[in-house]
């Protein structure tokens, strides 16, 4: 594939009002700029297909309570997590998938978002909207600070810098900043918090404080619908960014940053913007975590949480739009469902096998469930990285191609 024919297009694109159609048009003669990870990244998808993809994604997200039933995952807490970590991974992908800069410190923004949201519940109002707005903005501020410093380096140095900042945030939250974060115990919403705005309207007095949107409490399914809606918005914004000239610029940086500079672009502002956007996504996810469960703990910022989002993105397919969400669902599913399966559940599951063999099957499978869920995840991850470097999305695409050929 010819990967040259570079970034003069985006320049013309910015002049027009409709970048989408411009890309569609130009894509006819520019089937280029294809990083090795799959065609979805190329801006040659017609808007109609984007629309179809958005609709499909929306259907998948909003029907989660139905299609997750057979998997035993259709309970609010887990579905909320699917949506929230979906947002987190989609946002991470804007940085990692588009520019190729691997941040190992995104959990810091998740944590900042959570703490901000809980403080908003405590000081302002139990309403969800100010909480998620504040948490997104606050994460953005942190992202500007961390990004400004970290983006002076690229490659492994960038990763290490972000990791260092995240661990710093984690340790601060855990020790020095205990008055703000309440340390290990975690920051909680209490019934005697001030809640200035709520008390103006005389609604501050409640026995069991819980986040709400104008009276709808964020317990159970209501929390899920809120998260799902945020996920949809986040997805559409990510789609627009990916298809925009700005997204093109980011991909240009990924394929060859030096060339971008020689052409005359100062890449740093683009990188910083991508970093901040992606940090704000993480902040939104963190805010939503606090919305559905008003408690913020420092462990959300630990490096394992940062690593998790990298896994999600790579597992699903870095650089694709839907991949990170799929990765998030799979990892959270493993963490919550596989980890709770015990031997007795296995016995039930394999009860259709004759008892003599059943014992051996259970013996063989049991290291992979329960506490051993990390093992299963590790195996799955290895299989994906070795055979499907483009993530599960590549797998789906290959299967799709197979069917098309078959016909």
């Amino acid at each position: 594939m010819d990967r040259a024919h570079t970034s003069s297009e985006p320049d013309t694109a910015t002049d027009t009002g409709k970048p989408q159609s411009v890309f569609h048009r130009t894509s006819g003669d520019v089937p280029t700029q294809l990083p090795p990870l799959g065609p979805e990244m190329a801006p040659m998808w017609p808007p109609k297909r984007d629309l179809a993809m958005t609709l499909l994604f929306g259907i998948v997200v909003y029907t989660m309570p139905l299609w997750l039933q057979p998997f035993g995952a259709a309970y609010p807490d887990l579905m909320q997590r699917f949506a929230i970590y979906g947002i987190f991974a989609i946002g991470f992908n804007i940085l990692f998938g588009l520019t190729g800069y691997l941040s190992f410190g995104h959990a810091a923004f998740l944590g900042v978002g959570s703490y901000t949201a809980v403080w908003s519940f405590k000081l302002l109002s139990l309403n969800v909207i100010p909480a998620i707005v504040c948490s997104t903005l606050m994460a953005g501020v942190f992202a500007v600070l961390i990004g400004y410093v970290s983006l002076r380096r690229s490659g492994i140095y960038f990763s290490i810098l972000t990791l260092a900042f995240a661990q710093m945030c984690y340790n601060l939250a855990y020790s020095v900043l205990t008055p703000i974060t309440n340390g290990e115990t975690g920051l909680r919403v209490l019934s005697d918090d001030p809640r200035v705005v709520d008390s103006l309207f005389g609604t501050a007095d409640m026995a069991v404080p819980r986040a709400s949107i104008f009276g709808i409490e964020m317990a159970g399914m209501a929390g899920f619908w809120t998260c799902a809606t945020c996920l949809m918005i986040a997805f559409i914004v990510a789609l627009r960014i990916t298809r925009s000239p700005f997204g093109m610029m980011l991909r240009g940086i990924k394929s060859n940053q030096t060339r971008m500079s020689y052409i005359g672009f100062n890449t740093r502002p683009y990188m910083l913007t991508a970093f901040v956007i992606s940090g704000m996504y993480a902040g939104l996810a963190g805010g939503l975590l606090a919305v559905v469960d008003p408690l913020a703990g420092a462990e959300r910022m630990q490096w394992t949480a940062s690593g998790e989002v990298v896994l999600m993105t790579i597992l699903g397919g870095a650089g694709t739009l839907i991949g990170p969400f799929i990765g998030a669902v799979i990892i959270k599913y493993f963490e919550n469902i596989f980890s709770s399966l015990g031997d007795s559940a296995l016995m039930d599951a394999f009860s259709f096998i004759p008892p003599a063999i059943e014992k051996w099957v259970v013996f063989a499978v049991s290291p992979f469930v329960g506490e051993g869920w990390h093992l299963t995840l590790g195996v799955l991850f290895m299989i994906v990285v070795i055979f499907l470097p483009g993530g599960l999305i590549e797998g789906f695409r290959r299967i799709g191609r197979l069917f098309r050929k078959g016909r």
Binding site: Q69, P70, F71, G72, A73, A74, Y75, P76, D77, L78, R81, N171, Y174, S175, T178, G183, E184, T185, G186, R188, S191, D192, A207, V208, R210, E217, A219, G220, M221, D293, L295, G297, E299, R300, N336, I337, S339, S340, L341, G342, A345, L346, D348, A349, F350, V369, E371, I383, F387, G395, R398, I399, L402
Partner: protein, 450 residues
């Protein structure tokens, strides 16, 4: 190349899908419980309890022992095994035929000794597995976090091992109950013993686990020892699960302190105590006095982990399997037969909490939380190994004797590591509930509707 891989991947995907579906079958979601008037009203012939214990992290050993005790309690409630403390527990409405005729089942979760993970795991148990009660845990941070979650969702929480004053003090909740004693009681019990053994002119150095339990224990022990005339040289906070404490231990000897107080628990305490002993602290003379180490909250599992190093070290304990009363004997026997080891205090408190909950349900005649809570509040009982015990209505704290224990100088077996030095009476450790503030909150108002 791709041709070769293709069919096998397809088969692999098929297999995965099949296995996934098969694994998921038993966990099918049973809907249709919409008409319930409270969270997770058990409608079938069984009732599910949720046991949320640390299976990983610094308190994992405690968690394992708690799980053993829960399994034993469930067996006894269902009329299996020898019944343990069911026979000695008075006044009891337990039948040995499940709870209200329903067979008791349970699910478990891993708190990881992290508030976040513990809440996620508790929510899974409540929303997916439809548990009627959550119990367990070995950290006050977790207990406080899960307790407020349970209040929000309207599910009773029977705390496991939690020793912070906050659990039934500033952070107490109507739906949370604690059988374990607390740091304030440890301080009262330990203060006089320490003054007796080590004199009134001492300087103490605190190393404190940096979370709610550590903070309140440090404060309580400080107050109790200072009331005896001791001084506090310094109090240093260490992160939970730090692993290596040498950087915190080196400054101790230069601080002019002659007593080191380790406000650590579980794996942390095993590490910090072992390192302190390896540093030769116990052989040192400071201010003309023998340097001493105190571990205010002690457990058999920790003593097992620290081995030789616990010899002669003072601490307090909620319960010991060596106590000479019917309840303790019955429980230790039944636990020993099942698992080949004596139960720890963590196991004891979790077992007792499960029985107390089941009994409250039988007394109330319903699983409805407000009625169960009322049955527990102010409940006075005996025969659970601690002598006469009161579940105080004002703060849901149990009041009973507190044990001051000391590491055995000449242990007779690997389990005979601690001996009871003094039993401090219930009246001495009873305090006014208003000193810690806090609000219990309402009887209803929680919702877990999906």
């Amino acid at each position: 190349m791709t041709k070769l891989i293709r069919p096998s991947r397809r088969r692999f995907l098929h297999g995965t899908a099949l296995a996934g579906a098969a694994l998921a079958t038993p966990t099918f979601f049973t809907r249709g419980a919409w008409a319930q008037d409270f969270c997770n009203n058990p409608t079938g012939s069984t009732v599910t309890l949720g046991f949320n214990v640390p299976q990983t992290g610094p308190y994992a050993e405690e968690g394992k022992d708690e799980l053993r005790a829960f399994e034993l309690a469930v067996q006894h409630l269902n009329g299996e095994g020898d019944g343990g403390m069911m026979a000695t527990f008075k006044p009891s409405n337990l039948t040995g035929n499940g709870v209200l005729g329903k067979k008791v089942e349970f699910v478990t979760g891993d708190t990881q000794t992290k508030s976040d993970a513990a809440r996620a795991s508790a929510r899974r148990m409540i929303e997916k597995d439809k548990v009627i009660m959550v119990s367990g845990g070995s950290s006050s941070g977790v207990a406080v976090a899960v307790q407020s979650l349970c209040q929000e969702m309207g599910v009773v929480f029977m705390a496991g091992l939690t020793h912070s004053n906050d659990t039934t003090g500033k952070d107490k909740r109507r739906y949370g109950f604690r059988h374990f004693f607390n740091a304030y009681q440890s301080g009262v019990a330990l203060g006089s013993v320490l003054a007796e053994a080590y004199g009134k002119d001492r300087r103490a150095y605190h190393l404190t686990a940096d979370y709610t339990w550590g903070w309140t224990q440090e404060e309580s022990i400080k107050n109790a020892t200072e009331a005896q005339g001791w001084e506090t040289a310094q109090a240093v906070r260490t992160p939970l699960g730090a692993g290596d404490f040498s950087q915190y231990l080196t400054p101790v000897l230069n601080s002019g302190a002659d007593v080191l107080i380790l406000n650590h628990y579980g794996g942390d305490m095993v590490n910090s105590l072992t390192q302190a002993v390896q540093f030769g602290m116990r052989d040192k003379q400071v201010n003309g006095k023998q340097f001493e180490i105190v571990v205010p909250l002690y457990s058999e599992l920790m003593a097992e982990g620290a081995g030789e190093n616990v010899k002669g070290i003072f601490g307090t304990s909620n319960w010991s399997w060596q106590l000479d009363n019917d309840g303790s004997k019955a429980f230790a026997k039944s636990f020993g037969q099942a698992y080949g080891r004596p139960p720890s205090q963590a196991a004891h408190t979790c077992y007792v909490q499960t029985l107390l909950y089941a009994n409250a349900v039988e007394t109330a005649g319903t699983f409805a939380p407000p009625e169960v809570i009322k049955a527990l509040e102010g409940f006075e009982f005996d025969g659970m190994g601690n002598g006469p015990t009161l579940y105080r209505a004002e703060d849901h704290q149990c009041f009973k004797d507190v044990l001051v224990v000391k590491g055995n100088d000449n242990p007779t077996s690997q389990f005979d590591l601690l001996s009871v030095y003094k039993v401090v009476g219930r009246d001495e450790v009873t305090y006014d509930p208003s000193i810690f503030g806090g609000e219990l909150g309402p009887y209803d108002g929680g919702t877990c509707a999906g």
